[in-house]
Amino acid sequence: MTNSLNDMRHAKSLIFIGSNAPEAHPISMQHILHAKEKNNAPIIVVDPRRTKLAAKATDFVRIRPGTDAAFMLGLINVITTNGWEDKEFIRTRVSGYEELLAVTKDYTPEAVEEITGISAEQTRHVAKVLAENRPTSLTWCMGGTQHSIGSSITRTFCLLQLVLGNMGKSGGGTNIFRGHDNVQGATDMCVLADNLPAYYGLAEGSWKHWCRVWDVDYEWIKSRFPKPELMQLPGFSLARWYEGVLGEEKLYQDTPLKAMIQWGCGANSNSQYNRVVQAYNKLELLVVVDPFPTMAAAACDTDNIYLLPSASQYETSGSVTSTSRQIQWRHKVVDPVHNSKDDYQIMELLVNKLGFADKFYKNIKQVPEDLTRELGRGALTIGYNGQTPERIKKHMENWHTFDIDSLQAIGGPCDGDYYGMPWPCWTDEHPGTPILYDISKPVAKGGLPFRNRFGNEKTYDSSGRTENQLAAKGVCNPGSEVEGGYSEFAEIVPGTNWKTDLSQKTLKVAIARGMAPFGNARARCVVWNFPDQVPIHREPLHSPRPDLIAKYPTYKDKQKHYRLDTRFESEQNPELVKEFPYVITTGRMVEHMGAGAETRSNQYLAELQPEMYAEINPRLGNNLGFRDGDMVWIESPEGSKIKVKAFFTERVDEKTIFLPYHFAGVLMGESLIDKYPEGHAPYVVGECGNVVTNYGYDIITQIQATKDGLCKVSKA
C-alpha cells in the first residue's frame, strides 16, 4: 500500500478491483465504511462476483475475469478525452504520458464493453464518479494479479491513479491489501527466487553488499554455489517449483530438484495442485515445518517426508509488517506448547547440523532482536533501518497514543512518529513514511518524491521521443535543497551509493538537505524493460472469447523464465472453449485462511464453514440439469478434476464458477483424511480448488493465473 488502511478514511471515493475486503481483510472495512459514511465516498467494486464488498458498494461493476487492464485503459480513455486528468500532476511528475495516450485511445468505452462485458455507459459513469470525487483510493488484491498479464493489469491500476493525480495524497494512492499477516515483511526480506533482501536483486554488487552486512567473505558465498552464474540466475518460483522435480520440462540448472523444505507454507494454494502432489511423491526428501500437518502430510505416499512441529506465531516473537507497511512487534504470549520448537530454534538446529553456523550467526547473539538490527543494517533501499527493535516495542507499548485518523502519535513517548514507522524509515529519528510519494511533507517528516531509478533521460521506442525522467522544476518536498528533480544520491561516501553505504551517512546527508536519498523523479508510464512497454489488454491463455484472441493475443512463449520455459502463445487455443465453456475463478472466504491448515483445525471456524463448494449461478445449474446441493465434477483442460457440492447463488454470473481455495484433504474425489497423522487431521477436509485452476503464469513475476481459467462441469 502506498497509503495506509487508516488513511482510507480520507478518501472521497474508493474503487476496488479484484478485492473482497469483507472476506479477506474484514477489519479494513472499519476504515472503508468510515469513508463511505463520513465523506459520502462512493464505493465502486469491480469484480466478476457480487461479493460481500459489492453489498456495501454504491456501484457494482461485473467484469469478465482477466480483462481488468482493458477496463482501466477504458477509464483512462474517458478521463483523458473529457479532460478530467490532473494536468499539473502529469506535467510535473509523470513521464511517458503521450505514449500512454497512444495506447488508451483505442480503448473506447465501446471497445471496453466488447472485451470486459461492462457497458460503455457504466465505464463512463465510473470515470465520472472517480473524476468528481478525488482523491480516489484504489485497491486491488489477487483478483488483479493472478493472471497471465497480471503485471500489466497492476500497472494499469497505477496509471489510472497517476492520470487522476491521486498518488502521494492522503485518501488516494494504490492500496494493495496484502494476504498473509507478514507477506509484506517476508517480501521485503525477499524470500524470493529473484532477489536478495530488500529488493537488491541478484547482481554481483548486491551479493557483495549483503556479504558485507553478514560479515562473510564474498568468495566464500560464491564457493557455496555450483557456478558463479547461478548466483545471478533466479531460482524456481513457488508457482512452478514442482516442474523442477517432475522433470517433464526443460530445466535451466544441472540437476532436478530432489529435496524440499516447506516452512510455514500450505502449498495447496498452488494451482495444478495434483502435479504438486506428484512432485511430493517423487522427492527424495520433504521436510514440512509447520504447527499443523498441512495437506502435504496427507498427500505424500512415500516415506520421504518429515514433519517438524514448529511453534505458532504466538509462541515466538519478532516483527511483522502489515499491509500498511507498519512494523509491529509480535510479542511472545506463551512458551512453545507440546514438543514444538519455535522457528528460530529449528533454524539454528538445521544450520548447526549443516555446518555453517559460525558464519550464519556471526552478528547474532540475541534472537530475534539482533536479526532485526542486522536486516535493518542492510535493507537500506526500503528504509528498514530506522525501525530498531526498541522503537517497534515502544510503539506497541504506546499504541493507544496514536491518532486513528493520522496514525501519528499525539504526545507520549512516540510523539510525532507514525504508527509502526511505515517504511521507508530512514534514520533512528525518522517518523516513518505514512504515504509514499507525498511531496507535501519534508522528507524528514515522512514525505517522499517518486524514486529516480531508471536514469535521468529516456528515448521511447514507440514514439522516438526523448524525455527527462526527473521531476519538473519546483516540484519537491518542502525544504529541499534542489528545487525540482534530482538524481539518486551516490559517492557521498566514496565507492558507495545510498543503497550500499552501510555507514548510512548518505541517508543522513540527503535528509539533512531536505532531499530523498533515492532522488526525485517522475513516475513512468513507459516501462522499457517489460514486454509491454505500455500495458495493453491480452486475452487470458485460456480465453472464453476465441474471437478476441486474434485481436488481443497473448505473448510469445518465454524461455528461461525462473529456470523453466513458460508457454504463452502455444498454450492459447481458440478451440478450448468449445470443450471447456465456463470460466473458473477462485477466492477467499472469511472463515478460512490460505491453505486452511490452521483454520480448518479450529473447531469453531470449521463449524461455520464445513464444506467445500462451487458457486454456480442457478440459471447455469438448471440448464446443466443439476440442483442446489448436488455433487458435481469440475474438470480442467489439464485433465484434473474435483468433486464438489454445487452451491447455487447469484453472486456469480452464468458463465463463471467460483471456488474457495482453502480446502484440502480430498484429492480428485478421494478422501485422504486417513493419511494424516492420527489425531491431527483437520476438523474439515474438502477438495482443493487449486487442482482445477489452469496453466498460466505472468510473464514477469510468474504468478499463477488462478482467476481466469476454463473448466467444464458435469453432475457427479
Binding site: 474484514p26 459520502n40 465516498a41 460481500k52 470525487n133 469453531y604 471456524l605 461455520l608 453472486r651
Partner: protein, 195 residues
Amino acid sequence: MARLKFLCDTERCIDCSGCVVACKEGNHVPVGVNRRRVITLDSGKPGEKSISVSCMHCADAPCIAVCPVDAIYQRDDGVVLVNKKTCIGCGYCFMACPFGAPQFPKGEVFGARGAMDKCTFCAGGPEETFSAEEKHLYGQNRIAEGKVPLCAGMCATKALLAGDADVVADVYRERVFQRGSGSNAWGWSKAYDKK
C-alpha cells in the same frame, strides 16, 4: 437504572462472524450451540444485508413468561439470564423467542435437550461471580469486570453495539445522521435522483 442492550447496524455488518467466534471462544461454547449468529438476507443479490443476532435481552421477555420452572430471570440492568440448574430443557423459551436465541445442547437421557444456553451479555450466571462453576456453565462474567461483551468489543466494523441503551441509541442516531448529511452520494443527489 441503566439498561443494557445490543444493536446491530446492518449498514456496517459485513458477515465476518467475528462476533460468533469471539463469543464461542471466549465463553467456551460447545460446537452446535450458537449464542450469536449472523444472518444474511438476499445473499449474492442486490440489497444484500447482514445482521448479527443473539438474545436481545428484551424488556418484556417472552422466554421469562413461558418458562414453566422460572429458570429465566432478568437482572436490574436488563440482562436476561437462565439458571441452568433449574432449567429442564423443555424448549418453551425457544418457541416463545422471536430471535431464536435459546439454544439446547444435546442432553444425555433419551436424546433430551440439555439445559438451555443463550447469550449472557457476558454477564455469567447466577453462580458466584468468577467462580469455576460460573465459568464452566455460563462463560465469562465480563460485566462484573466492567468490560463490554466480547462480540461487540471484537466487532470488525463496530456494527454491533452493546451497552447502555441510551448511549447505544445515541451512537446509532449520530451515525444515521452522518450518513444522511452529505450532499453527494447519500444526500441531495440521491434525493433528487441526480446521476
